[in-house]
Amino acid sequence: MRIVVAVKQVPDTAEVRIDEERGTLIREGVPSILNPFDEYALEEAMKWRDELGGTVTVITMGPPQAEAVLREAISMGADEAILLSDRAFAGADTWATSHTLAKAVEKLGDIDIVMTGKQAIDGDTAQTGPSIAASLDWPQVTFVGKVLEIDENSIISERYVEGGCEIIKSSLPVVITVLKDANTPRLPSLRGKMKARKIEIPVWGIEDLKLPENEVGLDGSPTRVVKITTPETFSDGEIHHGEPEELARLMVDSLLGKEGR
């Protein structure tokens, strides 16, 4: 089983603020971490590798410093890592990003499963996983809370949707996006940490992936962020004082939509 886990280096959301004027995230001075949802994808991939044999390859697209999250993934037990980094990739939206990631999966060849977190905690789009599948023309199963079975040709998983759970069987190769319900990610091991420090991580650029410039980065991105705003918060709570009976009636009437009084 050859599994690719697509991961993202994200700012630690607890620390992020918004530049109100420019409508962008202030990333300076904010520590970067491995997108927490990707940790579940990585653990799921490693769990099945440990059971079925095979390899787990982590990939990410980003600036050279994004290598840090690949090393973190190696310390947790991933077998190898590839960094997709090129000036031309800068400014990519989810379409251009997933297109680039998909090309890397094609270049790796013979991949059975691509796993990724359900979304990244910075952009929160949940589009990259599905979009990788679209770009590769593979099936996709999103929001997977439990992988039940994997064999040579298929995967059966539980997809958690609002108000229920779908059990889906898919052929391989496939793209899976993973929820935190799936597992508890393991901690890095000593051997993993040592390997992470020593391993050479190949860097693939636009030429390695044989991509035209108009399909990557800002030029290859059909969407534009026009503005980022914080939604207005509404506070329509009311406070009433009175006897319990009177207040209960008020509440019931209000729930029934009557302007009772």
């Binding site: 890095p188 000593l190 040592m194």
Partner: protein
């Protein structure tokens, strides 16, 4: 203080800190309350490769990467002890149990037992103490009588850390009562051996997450090949073991002290009385300053001793005893002061410092009481002085 630890030692520190934060701190009060051995946490430590750090690569460990294993063990034990001395000793006692085999075992014994200990698949324990043989190790009554190619063990070991949880025990027994300490012999006994059973589990003041048990031997037949070193060398094996393991207890003490200091400093920065943070009062400041200085001095002594052992120094009995005495006395003082700084809250179980104070006490007692350690230091000093006088 920056000790310029190698990247590899920092890896150990980071992993232990993460285990402490995610797995130990959330459950330490419960483990303490329930007197419960942390099996789940031990599994996580094994998956993180921690059990091999003091065992050579040839036997499945990684000690060489850290320059020997003593510093590795000290760094790991200290970091785990910041969160819980009981969980930490459950880890470190494996090193104590493995040490007789590591130091004095044959190559066959090392090949047979160490790989499972390095992976954490099995746990180890060291058994010397008996009801009438504590500081006076020569007074061991557990008998081992030769019977063909075997020895028959009879007797009871007491207060054995990791008892009932370990699968491999290194036991000191008497093979020649007429020779006292020189009649002692070290044996390897595996769990499940006929005639070997567990007695009562102790209900302790502190380190309650750790298991402390009686080991009972009733006509327990042990093959002669399980003797560590040679018949009559048990006392030497035990002393070498304890000299090497003592910096581990000292590291536990440093960790407990640091954990208590961190709690006290944090509390003092938040607690407001008379309209100001209590760490703005000189009375509290001087206490914190002393606690920090003493803890750092203890750490420096422990690290230097561990480095000395890793460097291959042959004589380190005195330094090892000094590290243990100093660090454990510091741990007792610092934890007591931490409780004092937290005041009434410190005395309550809602805060972790009362447990740290209870945990600290044992470090002054086990693996040789501090009084015995002082005798060791003094006798080394007297010998050195005499040698200089010649």
């Amino acid at each position: 203080m920056n000790y310029y630890l190698s990247e590899e030692l920092n890896d150990i520190k980071e992993i232990c800190a993460e285990i402490a934060e995610k797995y130990i701190v959330p459950v330490r009060a419960k483990l303490d309350e329930e007197n419960r051995f942390p099996r789940e946490i031990i599994k996580v430590m094994a998956a993180s490769d921690l059990f091999g750090i003091y065992i050579p690569e040839a036997y499945g460990g990684s000690a060489e990467i850290f320059g020997g294993g003593s510093m590795a063990l000290a760094v790991a034990t200290e970091e785990l002890s910041k969160a819980c001395g009981g969980v930490a000793v459950s880890f470190a006692a494996n090193a104590l149990g493995a040490m007789p085999i590591l130091i004095s075992g044959s190559d066959e014994q090392k090949k047979k037992y160490l790989p499972d200990l390095a992976s954490g698949a099995k746990l180890a324990a060291f058994a010397l103490t008996e009801s009438e043989a504590g500081s006076d190790a020569g007074a061991v009554k557990t008998k081992a009588v030769k019977d063909g190619d075997s020895y028959i063990l009879n007797g009871t070991k007491q207060w054995i850390t990791n008892g009932g949880e370990a699968q491999i025990y290194t036991i000191i027994a008497q093979t020649d009562p007429s020779r006292g300490a020189r009649g002692l012999t070290a044996f390897i006994v595996e769990e499940g051996t006929e005639g070997f059973s567990y007695g009562k589990k102790e209900n302790k003041m502190g380190i309650r997450a750790s298991s402390t048990m009686e080991l009972i031997f009733e006509d327990c037949k042990i093959p002669a090949e399980n003797i560590i070193s040679r018949e009559g060398y048990g006392f030497i094996v035990a002393m070498k073991t304890l000299n090497t393991s003592r910096p581990g207890v000292a590291a536990q003490a440093v960790g407990i002290a640091q954990g208590a200091l961190d709690e006290a400093a944090k509390y003092a920065s938040e607690r407001v009385q008379f309209g100001q943070r209590i760490d703005s009062f000189q009375g509290i400041q001087f206490m914190l300053a002393d606690m920090a200085t003493q803890t750092e001095a203890a750490r420096a002594l422990v690290y230097c001793t561990a480095k000395m052992i890793d460097a291959g120094e042959r004589k380190f009995e005195k330094e090892s005893a000094m590290a243990k005495v100093f660090a454990s006395d510091v741990a007792m003082k610092v934890t007591t002061d931490a409780v004092q700084i937290l005041g009434g809250y410190g005395y309550m179980k809602e805060y972790p410092v009362e447990k740290m104070m209870r945990d600290a006490k044992i470090t002054q007692i086990y693996e040789g009481t501090n009084q015995i350690q002082r005798s060791v230091i003094a006798s080394a000093l007297i010998k050195e002085t005499a040698a200089r006088g010649k």
